[in-house]
Symmetry: C2
């Protein structure tokens, strides 16, 4: 029996084009003692994958080598096993890549079969733990503060806002469409949401943050950044998680002048989750518990079939995805 | 008997011009019970004073009100006293302003008469404690790291570099003249010093920091910032203390794009000392001990007479001062 996988064949120039990938068909391998075979059912598509495709040796984890299966996290079921801890039927989550089957000796985490895979990938996986770490370890929210999150309808931003609401924080989301903004306020309970395409974005931001901004969770860069930065309060804290607006541009926009950093004594901290892998389980358990209590909503934008990943990943950079982008295999 | 003081009469437009000040003559007042009279002998001129002149209510301390004596720190001797803790002959340091005499009920700190006033204002006063706080509380240096400090020949920068050298850190200073750079390497023992006017600044910076930059103490903003920022190592730390290049410009330069903040997981922290007044005594004692041991060098650039403050303060912004700018009265 054969299965399909998608290899990275070329580095992307600026945007991700389909010719940088190659689909291959391989026989499903026999497993050796201590190994198990996973049939992947759901792959997660995340903005961080753009960085993994580039040969930037300065990035926080090594790039995918050319000719390797494209890296991604996902969920699957163990369909053959010679490993005592991963019997057939175990559902596992972890880095398996763009492939229908994956042979492992470990390195994957068992997950409950009672929770939909989309929920696990949306809340408990990378986006959720990223939101959790950035909010609690970097921003350190206090009740009564005002938080602004960009990419607010994305898989990270939507979790940041919901977790902050649970802490008694006033939450303002910035997103790229009125539909997303409506979802943030009506379904997720954000106090306000602003479309960054609005011409009067700055005025709307001022209206939504009458007491200024204490906490800024930055996912996107782009035009909103300058306006949010200007409204930061003294001792404001900024978690910089992503610059999605700049990933696919040759000439990233300049940042704001640093004068405000002194005047307001701002703290700006960049972070990426690979530095904090040892806390994944702890964060995941807390997120799972909140989700089970109905306190964290999510929406998944599900594509179908391995091939859909190739074009689908660009939805993250155009902002056309509505919710956590997932490929169901 | 009369004495002179200088009042702030207008807000500066962009640069500081002499017409924003007014010199007045007043009779030396009688002191009441609980008061003491200080004859100021040395006033400190510091870049932060530019901010105190502006009506920017968002700044970290309130501006000087129009018609008030211009704010500054200084040293003087008690010449009349009805306060038991400050007998005649006590030498005191603190905020007295641009004035020859000052009546106080407290709020000033006794300092030893055995140490030259220039040394106290250069090492133990605001510049020294600012350097101490920024280095130890924000940058947290570790032996073997590489630190770059801008405004390196200034009163804060020169202390940052010397303290860091004591911690086993490789120290590279950025200053505005070859003479200053020579002083940094030959007298203060910096590992390298680069003139930011050099056309090949970026290349020289790369040569001086072969292992990248772990710690960045930013006093100035301006052209050097982008180059230093680009060479930051993963988990680099940045203390933002001042933007002297931008204080007197109507259109401050943009800062660097934030992508590197994520990619390198940088921590950028702005700070100003008024937030940390409660630690002045602790820092001052440590600095005084190091100075007495001959481990901290300084140079004072001393002007003479109250009037000299008016034109003299601009030396800080043109970079023409050589060392801690002080007015001897």
């Amino acid at each position: 029996m054969n299965y399909s996988a998608i290899l990275l064949k070329k580095r992307p120039d600026i945007t991700i084009t389909s010719d940088i990938f190659e689909k291959v068909s391989k026989p499903v391998p026999e497993i050796a003692e201590g190994e198990f075979l996973v049939k992947q059912t759901h792959m997660s598509l995340d903005p961080a994958m753009r960085g993994w495709m580039s040969a930037d040796r300065e990035s926080y984890i090594p790039p995918v080598e050319l000719g390797e299966v494209m890296r991604s996290s996902g969920i699957g079921d163990v369909v053959a096993s010679r490993h005592p801890d991963f019997p057939v039927g175990t559902r596992v989550m972890g880095m398996m890549g763009w492939t229908e089957y994956f042979v492992a000796k470990g390195g994957l985490s068992p997950v409950p079969t009672s929770v939909p895979q989309e929920a696990l990938l949306s809340v408990v996986a990378l986006p959720g733990v990223t939101a959790y770490h950035g909010l609690y370890e970097v921003l350190k929210p206090q009740a009564g503060q005002t938080l602004v999150v960009t990419g607010a309808a994305g898989s990270v931003g939507s979790m940041v806002g919901q977790l902050a609401k649970l802490e008694g924080v006033t939450v303002v989301g910035v997103a790229g469409s009125d539909e997303k903004c409506h979802w943030l306020t009506e379904t997720l309970g954000f106090d306000a949401a602003i479309n960054y395409h609005d011409e009067d974005f700055a005025a709307k931001l001022a209206t939504a943050t009458p007491n200024g901004i204490d906490l800024f969770f930055e996912n996107t860069g782009g035009v909103a950044q300058q306006h949010i930065y200007q409204r930061m309060n003294a001792h404001g804290r900024v978690a910089v998680c992503g610059m999605i607006a700049d990933y696919n541009t040759a000439t990233p926009q300049p940042g704001p002048n640093w004068m405000n950093i002194v005047r307001k004594r701002l703290m700006i901290q960049g972070f990426t989750m690979p530095d904090h892998f040892h806390r994944f389980a702890e964060y995941g358990q807390k997120l799972a518990a909140l989700m089970m209590d109905g306190k964290l909503q999510y929406r998944a934008h599900t594509l179908h079939g391995l091939d859909s990943a190739i074009e689908g990943i660009n939805l993250l950079f155009s902002g056309e995805n509505k919710g956590k982008l997932i490929v169901a295999l």
